[in-house]
């Protein structure tokens, strides 16, 4: 038997009680990531990417109700006591956030903030931890790391702060790194550097990476596998190459429609598809994409399609998959 995946999520659901009723932000999401590989989660804003990430980390606010299974290297963590879960954060799994400008504490130096994780999880002394932190900062290619370690976040650029965040996340060599749109707030050249850095560290340490993005260009260049999310559910899940070659969900087809030169053009953002994302507090019955789908049939509005394999390792939640025949007929 092969080793268990670094992360395996099954039937993950997250509900928020809001004044407009129960909001099911994530609804039956399943995926797995092997050590040393990157899974990209793509989808429009509000489709539940961050909530999925925070649910895995156990960082959702107390009013969130989480169900389903989350396994880290085979160990079920969804049912762990909060205190046990806490000890895994920063040690076994770590997260880098979208906003490097505000994610670091303005009152402490970069070095202190990296060292803190090392003192906590590896029991290093203050001095040892700081020395290790400087090494980590050098490792994520912060020039003059010893000096930078003694500086406060406001003295660092956005790209450098995100490097500090990565150093902090990887300091204790976690099995899993979740990067939630880590480069959205950065300018293009810095984006490329940060993503290359994550790739390199992943190869070096064998960390599994969940890379959340809404940039298909990023997916093509940095991920082995992709999960496309729509309105809280996974629409399609496949190896990146297969997804770009033969997309099996109309939503993916729509997304790819406006991203022609994948991975190369800077305009690799998601296409705008006609219609609007459904109201998550009152989702339509059946397939959630049906109201916007050019391929819909009567069944789509009645019954939600399950995520089913159409090819080995390639799953789509669409009654009309495989789509090749329809696409050929249309062409």
């Amino acid at each position: 038997m092969s080793a268990p995946p670094a992360l395996e999520v099954r039937d993950l659901a997250v509900e928020f009680a809001t004044d407009r009723g129960i909001l099911r932000a994530v609804d039956g999401v399943s995926f797995a990531v092997a050590p040393g590989r990157t899974l990209a989660i793509v989808g429009e804003s509000g489709c539940g990417k961050s909530v999925t990430a925070l649910a895995i980390m156990g960082l959702l606010p107390p009013h969130a109700r989480v169900s389903g299974s989350i396994r880290l290297a085979g160990r079920e963590i969804a049912t762990l006591a909060p205190e046990e879960r806490r000890k895994m954060r920063g040690a076994e799994m770590a997260m880098v956030f979208q906003e490097p400008m505000t994610s670091l504490n303005p009152a402490f130096t970069a070095g202190e903030q990296v060292a803190e994780a090392l003192r906590l999880h590896q029991g290093l002394s203050r001095r040892e931890a700081f020395a290790r932190a400087v090494e980590m900062l050098a490792h994520v290619r912060i020039p003059d790391a010893a000096r930078r370690a003694r500086q406060y976040p406001h003295q660092l650029s956005g790209g450098m702060r995100q490097r500090v965040m990565i150093a902090m996340a990887l300091a204790c060599r976690p099995r899993l790194l979740i990067a939630d749109e880590p480069t959205t707030a950065l300018d293009v050249t810095v984006q490329a550097q940060i993503l290359a850095l994550i790739d390199e560290l992943k190869r070096e340490t064998g960390t599994a990476v969940v890379l959340i993005t809404h940039d298909l260009g990023v997916v093509a260049d940095h991920a082995e596998d992709v999960a496309v999310m729509y309105a809280g559910r996974i629409a399609e899940r496949a190896p990146a190459a297969a997804l770009f070659a033969v997309p099996q969900h109309p939503y993916t087809v729509g997304l790819l429609g406006a991203a022609p030169r994948l991975g190369r053009a800077a305009g690799g953002r998601l296409a705008s598809i006609e219609g609007a994302v459904p109201d998550m507090a009152r989702p339509p019955p059946g397939c959630r994409f049906a109201p916007r789908c050019p391929f819909r049939i009567a069944r789509c509005a009645e019954e939600a399609p399950p995520l089913a394999e159409v090819a080995p390792g390639h799953a789509s939640a669409c009654w009309r998959a495989p789509l090749e025949r329809i696409l050929e007929a249309a062409a």
Binding site: R86, R89, G90, A94, A107, F108, H154
Partner: protein, 315 residues
């Protein structure tokens, strides 16, 4: 930063100058002729009155009186009290430690109650502990000091006989007695400070706890205790410290009513007595000293603000 400090210090003198002018000017509006009051029994004798006026320079033009006073003050001479034959500077130096002791104790009580209560109520937002803390703060802020003072005297001194109702023993004389005579007024003043500090701490903590860096701290696996007391509090304290310094200044400026009620011979009592007796040099001296303390404390507040806020330190 040094330029800033120099500029800040340079502002102090003009500020005090303007203040001295205001103090002197406003005082002229006080009704009542000091000479009449000082003459006492002999107030019917025009010769005595003229003599008093000449002695106190009350017969000179106002601008001359002002310049004379200002000139002496600048050389450190606050003049003589007209009433009690004592140098004003000496009176001030005698009363200041009393008020300083009272203010310090009140501030400690206020901070030790208010800050932790504010933190607790932010962490337990919208739960019973938060409601209770808010009720206590409201009580502290809205209860008039004179009323609370009288109630405490009635309950603790008169009914229970635990503490002396009034009077003051200096710290240097008898530590325990000194604390016993000041703890009640300090508590009365402290409840007020506690309420103000609690509200500000709560607001600042709620802001801090909702920041991204708090989520980062949690993502690192830090225990909630460290997240709250280190990562959030460190940032929340920045505005609270500034406010606290100003509140301390308010305490020093005289808890007039509270000192009266507990007959604590501090600044508040000194200035009230002086006003009633038209003892102008004392009123002027005390008010000017208070103003000076205030100006210096606001400088301290700014320095503290810089010291705990790295964004300013390295700007």
């Amino acid at each position: 930063m040094w330029i800033w400090l120099a500029r800040r210090l340079a502002q102090i003198l003009p500020t005090l100058l303007v203040l001295s002018f205001l103090i002197f000017g406003l005082q002229q509006l006080m009704p009542g002729d000091p000479a009449l009051i000082l003459a006492g029994e002999e107030r019917g004798d025009p010769q005595v009155l003229a003599q008093i006026r000449a002695e106190l320079r009350l017969d000179r033009p106002l601008y001359e009186q002002y310049l004379h006073w200002l000139g002496s003050v600048l050389t450190g001479d606050f003049g003589f009290s007209w009433r009690i034959r004592m140098p004003v500077a000496e009176l001030i130096l005698e009363k200041l430690p009393v008020t300083a002791q009272l203010a310090t104790m009140a501030f400690l009580i206020g901070a030790l109650i208010g800050v932790p209560m504010g933190i607790l109520s932010a962490v337990r937002r919208d739960r019973p502990a938060d409601w209770a803390a808010n009720a206590v703060a409201l009580f502290g802020i809205s209860t008039p000091n004179f009323w609370l003072g009288i109630m405490l005297i009635l309950l603790i001194s008169v009914q229970l006989g635990w503490l002396p109702p009034s009077g003051y023993v200096p710290l240097t004389e008898d530590f325990r007695q000194s604390i016993a005579t000041t703890i009640m007024p300090a508590f009365v003043l402290g409840t007020n400070i506690a309420g103000v500090l609690m509200r500000h701490t709560r607001a600042a903590m709620l802001t801090a706890l909702s920041q991204d860096y708090v989520r980062t701290a949690r993502a690192k696996g830090l225990p909630e205790r460290v997240v709250v007391w280190k990562h959030a509090l460190r940032n929340a304290l920045i505005p609270v410290v500034t406010l606290g310094t100003i509140e301390f200044g308010r305490l020093l400026a005289g808890a007039v009513l509270t000192e009266q009620i507990f007959t604590i011979p501090g600044f508040g009592k000194l200035v009230v007595d002086a006003v009633f007796n038209r003892d102008y040099p004392v009123v002027q001296g005390v008010v000017l000293t208070t103003a000076l303390i205030f100006v210096l404390l606001s400088l301290v507040a700014d320095l503290l603000y810089m010291a705990i806020n790295p964004r300013l330190r390295h700007a």
